[in-house]
């Protein structure tokens, strides 16, 4: 009979569940017109949970080993909670303006999805893993198509497309993951990761393993599972895209890390090959396809695909160090990309997101937004003094140490290509003249959104100036996974 103390590793997730129920209850009693409180409440609760993650001990295992709390799980919980809190802050005004009566729905879905994200990295049972994945994924598809015909954004048709594509491709990939898992279960007689890790290598197990991982690759948008990404980013509410572009990717990488470093530890030879393929394909396709984009959201979508390629270099290295560097990259990328999309929301609130033309002359209309955007772009491009530089250098170093010198050279060359499109955005904001009709006053940015952008900016600059604590906690987390 499990006791309450067994649930220690799940303390934060239970807290999140409590927060979810609280938001639900408050939504029921709040009158129309006061629903804005829900967003504030969500942000406050997520911030409190994030703070609690530094004081609560979550080590240990629960449910007879199906769930293991460790530094690894804790790091991902923190990333998810922080991303959730920042995205909530960024979305407050958007949701209040465009979906005034459905605010509870929006934030509840966000919280449900977050619950899946915080649970997943600790899962040590494949069934639990898949359930967490779906708990995360289904609310995301609903959020992507959140705009309706009666809303004021005028983007409902794109929104429907965004949600449908996300859902359809998600469903197919989940089906294939489950198909792969059926092989794994059939061959090993267990869904427990510890048991699977001890199973002998056979072709059928290899097939099952690859199907399982390929399904996960969909969520992180690695090429060739990336096609939903630009369409979804273009159609969904921008503050939600900010969240979508970082948190599920982190979780997807957590799942792949689990499979790679624990479940299929002994059989992972072909997995490393596939990781290499993902790296090359994602970096090439992401970088080249971003070049001709004029819509900044699509541009950032492809750039995100390329970024995933760089992150996967850490897995392709196949070492603990590689995993650690990937974790550091994920944390830095989360702060950067969230910030970049939030700036896009601030620049064109309530309109279909900005094209390069919309950004022209931003530095003169709104110097701080332009500066923030510039810093985020530099971080994405991997220029020193911001976190993106350390992130790229770290994964390059891990890959080089693992004997993948050619991959590093390739990554460095493609980074030059990517610099081109990041500079296109910076050029529009800094060097191009604003269009005449845009000489109007600068976009008014609400306080919560501005706060979220400032926090992202501080993180990006701070992690760039003093990456030490982040590198250390990434290293600890990676080691905790290697020791199961």
């Amino acid at each position: 009979m499990p006791t309450l103390s067994d649930l220690g590793p799940l303390a934060l997730d239970l807290g999140l569940l409590g927060a979810l129920l609280l938001v639900f209850a408050v939504d029921l009693v709040l009158p129309h017109g006061r629903k804005r409180v829900l967003g504030l409440l969500t942000a406050a609760l997520l911030t409190a949970l994030f703070a609690a993650s530094f004081t609560t001990s979550t080590a240990g295992s629960a449910f007879g080993g199906a769930y293991v709390g460790s530094e690894w799980a804790l790091l991902f919980k923190r990333i998810a909670l922080a991303a959730g809190a920042l995205a909530t802050l960024g979305a407050l005004d958007h949701v209040d303006r465009h979906f005034p009566t459905r605010q509870g729905e929006f934030f509840l879905l966000l919280l449900f999805s977050l619950l899946g994200m915080t649970l997943l990295p600790g899962a040590r049972d494949l069934l639990l893993l898949v359930v967490c994945f779906e708990l995360m994924g289904i609310p995301l598809a609903m959020l992507a198509s959140f705009a309706k015909a009666d809303d004021t954004t005028g983007t409902h048709r794109h929104a429907a497309e965004a949600g449908l594509k996300l859902y359809l491709v998600s469903a197919v990939s989940t089906a294939i993951t489950l198909f792969g898992l059926s092989y794994v279960y059939g061959l090993t007689g267990s869904t427990r990761i510890a048991t699977i890790a001890a199973a002998p290598v056979t072709p059928l197990l290899g097939l099952g393993m690859m199907f399982t991982v390929a399904g996960m690759a969909f969520k992180i948008g690695a090429v060739p599972f990336h096609m939903w990404v630009p369409d979804t980013y273009q159609g969904a509410p921008v503050p939600f895209v900010a969240f979508l572009s970082v948190a599920p990717k982190a979780t997807g990488l957590a799942a792949i890390g689990l499979l790679l470093s624990v479940a299929f530890r002994e059989q992972r030879g072909p997995l490393l090959g596939v990781m290499l393929f993902f790296v090359v394909a994602s970096v090439v396709a992401g970088s080249l396809l971003a070049l001709p984009q004029r819509d900044v959201r699509r541009l950032l979508a492809y750039s995100g695909i390329a970024q995933i390629g760089y992150m996967l270099m850490g897995f392709a290295a196949g070492t603990v160090r590689g995993t650690a560097m990937l974790l550091f990259y994920v944390a830095g990328y989360a702060a950067t990309n969230l910030g970049a999309f939030l700036v896009l929301e601030a620049v064109t609130p309530g309109r279909p997101g900005p094209t390069l033309e919309d950004l022209r002359g931003l530095s003169r209309r709104s110097p701080w937004l332009a500066l923030a955007l510039l810093v985020f772009l530099l971080s994405l491009a991997g220029i020193p003094f911001v976190v993106g530089f350390w992130a790229k250098l770290s994964v390059f170093l891990a890959a080089y140490q693992a004997g993948l010198g050619w991959l590093v050279l390739f990554g460095a060359l493609m980074a030059i290509v990517s610099l081109w499109y990041y500079l296109q955005v910076a050029k529009a904001a800094y060097l191009d003249d604003p269009p005449p009709e845009e000489r109007a006053p600068p976009p008014a940015v609400g306080a919560p959104l501005a706060l979220a952008i400032w926090i992202c900016l501080a993180l990006v600059v701070g992690m760039g100036a003093y990456p030490r604590p982040f590198l250390e906690s990434a290293a600890t987390a990676a080691q905790s996974l290697a020791g199961h």
Partner: protein, 610 residues
């Protein structure tokens, strides 16, 4: 104050100035006040740098190297190098103290000059310009005092970033924006060499220090040199430098003459212990440097824009430095960097003063300035003669040193190239000087007049070292190496003879102002050359041949080298546009791709696990 704190003051005071200008917007928008504030901090930094140099000068001070732990081994190090710790810090020795003085002196002069030169700009733009200037001084100083390659790289990147902002300063000019993009992109391409060099060095030795012994010295130094080629504008990565002349002229004086482009050479001087371990890289550098020196000098002969002449001249002189370092002469390379910074900054500022007076960059719009702008003309003349290598002036000493070393190494082909370049340098500087200062005045030049004190004072100040710094060579080199003793060597005499011949030829061809009338008839086929000034008809054929060769080189540079670089870019862009067709936007296609990819991946896994 201890040397450490002085060095920190030199580095961080300009950063503080930049931050104050960013944060205190009333000060920034005040215009002149912002400029004066920035100038004051630059002067204090200069004072600190001079103190550091004097301490070393007196021989009392030992090199200072203070570092703090920054990143733990758990982060970037570890594995085979579990003890490795990345440090941040300051290293003050003869090299960095000299470089600090050069950088802060030129920066202070350029900022004072800018007070007058940019006076017509709107006040907020003026303040913003000085914000970038202060930020640039910080980045350059942090590069100079760096105790290891990683920190040097951080400063190096920041310098590149700020140069992007400074070149693109004139936003309304599309050409300036394009030039800024290009300069940034091309130097970033080269910088990847530096990143890879850092990785290889670190994995091999567990350190970013330049004093380590490494088995991978060849790879590390070649990668480093690739970055140097980009930053210090060596063939074929030099194409961004002439384009960058679109920026304000004082910016060109600071970035493209004295400091930023010299950072590449400085990197080699700094990491010289690494380069000494790789003789092959030295050979490559000697040949690339000498070729660049010759190639750029040839192109400079036909340029009609005074800034373009100086830009190609900078490429050429940087080639000299690189060749010297390749020939194993740390002193030669660094001493030429020092002298070049003085006279080239002087030339650019004098050219800025001329442009300010004439309102044009074109040589054909100048002429007769000697009587109208006397101070500027004298300053320009001093700089030109120093660059040409006239005995007694700065350039003479450092060039002599370089040629001697190249000869000692028996590098005959580079030696020949450098000697021809010396001749051409004297010739094109003679041409510019004679046409601009003594030629027949054009309509533009009729009303030319000197600018204010802030334009002239830096010229007077810089003219002193441009003329005299060569005499300090023995003492300066003694600060970081065995002191060199200058004596007029045979090869030095040959070079001096060639330089005087170049000046003489220029005088013979451009010195006679009455040649203007016949010129147009004689040069109808080479119309572009005709605009470059009065040419004595008797030498039309000679100039025609030289000009022809030069034009061909310039064409090659403009359309083949530059075109190749651009073409690479366009090809990539086109590829991106073609690939775009794959994204059909139809959900069923996405599912097909998904299933196909999964089957492929699954088959691979099954096959592998056989």
């Amino acid at each position: 104050m201890s040397p450490l704190y002085t060095a920190l003051l030199c580095t961080f005071l300009p950063l503080a100035a930049a931050l104050v200008l960013v944060l205190v917007s009333p000060l920034r928008r005040a215009g002149l006040a912002a400029g004066l504030f920035s100038v004051a901090t630059a002067l204090i930094a200069f004072g600190g740098a001079v103190t550091l140099l004097l301490e070393r000068w007196s021989g009392a001070a030992t090199p200072v190297r203070e570092t703090v732990r920054w990143l733990p081994h758990a982060g970037l190090g570890g594995g085979a190098h579990a003890r490795a710790v990345i440090e941040l810090g300051v290293q003050i020795d003869g090299i960095s103290a000299t470089m600090l003085v050069v950088v802060t002196a030129v920066a202070a002069c350029v900022q004072i000059f800018s007070l007058g030169y940019m006076a017509g700009e709107p006040k907020p733009d003026f303040g913003r310009y000085f914000t970038w200037q202060s930020l640039f001084l910080f980045s350059m100083n942090s590069l100079v005092v760096a105790p290891n390659l990683l920190q040097l790289f951080l400063g190096w990147e920041l310098v590149g970033l700020v140069s992007y902002l400074l070149i693109g300063y004139w936003w309304s000019k599309p050409s300036a924006a394009r030039a800024a993009m290009k300069a940034f992109w091309m130097t970033k391409l080269a910088d990847m060499g530096l990143i890879l060099a850092l990785l290889v060095l670190f994995v091999d030795t567990g350190s970013f220090d330049w004093t380590v012994t490494t088995s991978a010295a060849g790879a590390v130094t070649l990668l480093l040199f690739f970055a140097v080629m980009g930053k210090s504008a060596q063939f074929p990565l030099h194409v961004w430098l002439p384009d960058a002349m679109e920026g304000p002229t004082p910016v060109s004086a600071l970035l493209h003459a004295a400091t930023m482009v010299a950072a590449g050479v400085f990197l080699v001087v700094r990491a010289f212990p690494l380069f000494e371990q790789a003789p092959t890289t030295g050979l490559v550098m000697a040949y690339v440097g000498a070729f660049t020196a010759l190639f750029a000098a040839v192109i400079a002969v036909v340029q009609t824009d005074i800034k373009k002449v100086l830009a190609y001249s900078t490429c050429s002189q940087l080639g000299y430095m690189v060749a010297a370092l390749g020939a194993g002469s740390q002193v030669g390379g660094f001493f030429h960097l020092t002298t070049h910074a003085c006279f080239k900054a002087l030339l650019f500022l004098a050219a800025g003063s001329i442009i300010h007076g004439v309102h044009s960059n074109e040589l054909s719009h100048m002429g007769g300035l000697w009587s109208r702008m006397r101070v500027t003309s004298v300053a320009f003349l001093v700089g030109a003669l120093a660059l040409a290598g006239v005995p007694g002036l700065a350039g003479f000493f450092s060039k002599d040193l370089i040629l001697e070393h190249v000869l000692e190494r028996g590098l005959w082909a580079p030696l020949g190239a450098l000697l021809v370049a010396a001749f051409l340098t004297a010739f094109y500087m003679g041409r510019v000087t004679l046409v601009a200062l003594f030629g027949r005045p054009s309509a533009h030049a009729e009303h030319a007049h000197e600018g204010g004190v802030s334009l002239l004072a830096p010229l007077v100040v810089l003219a002193v070292p441009a003329a005299g710094v060569g005499w300090l060579g023995a003492k300066l080199s003694g600060l970081y190496a065995a002191p060199v003793h200058f004596h007029l060597s045979p090869v030095g005499m040959v070079a001096t003879g060639l330089a005087l011949a170049g000046l003489g030829l220029a005088y013979w061809m451009f010195g006679a102002p009455q040649g203007g009338g016949r010129l147009r008839a004689a040069f109808a086929p080479i119309g572009r050359l005709a605009r470059s000034g009065a040419v004595n008809a008797r030498f039309a054929w000679g100039y025609g041949v030289l000009g022809g060769v030069s034009s061909i080189f310039a064409w090659f540079d403009r359309y083949v080298i530059d075109g190749l670089m651009n073409g690479l870019g366009y090809a990539t862009l086109a590829l991106g546009a073609r690939l775009r067709g794959l994204q059909t936007g139809r959900a069923q296609d996405y599912v097909y791709v998904l299933v196909a990819a999964m089957l492929g991946v699954g088959a691979y896994g099954a096959f592998w696990s056989r």
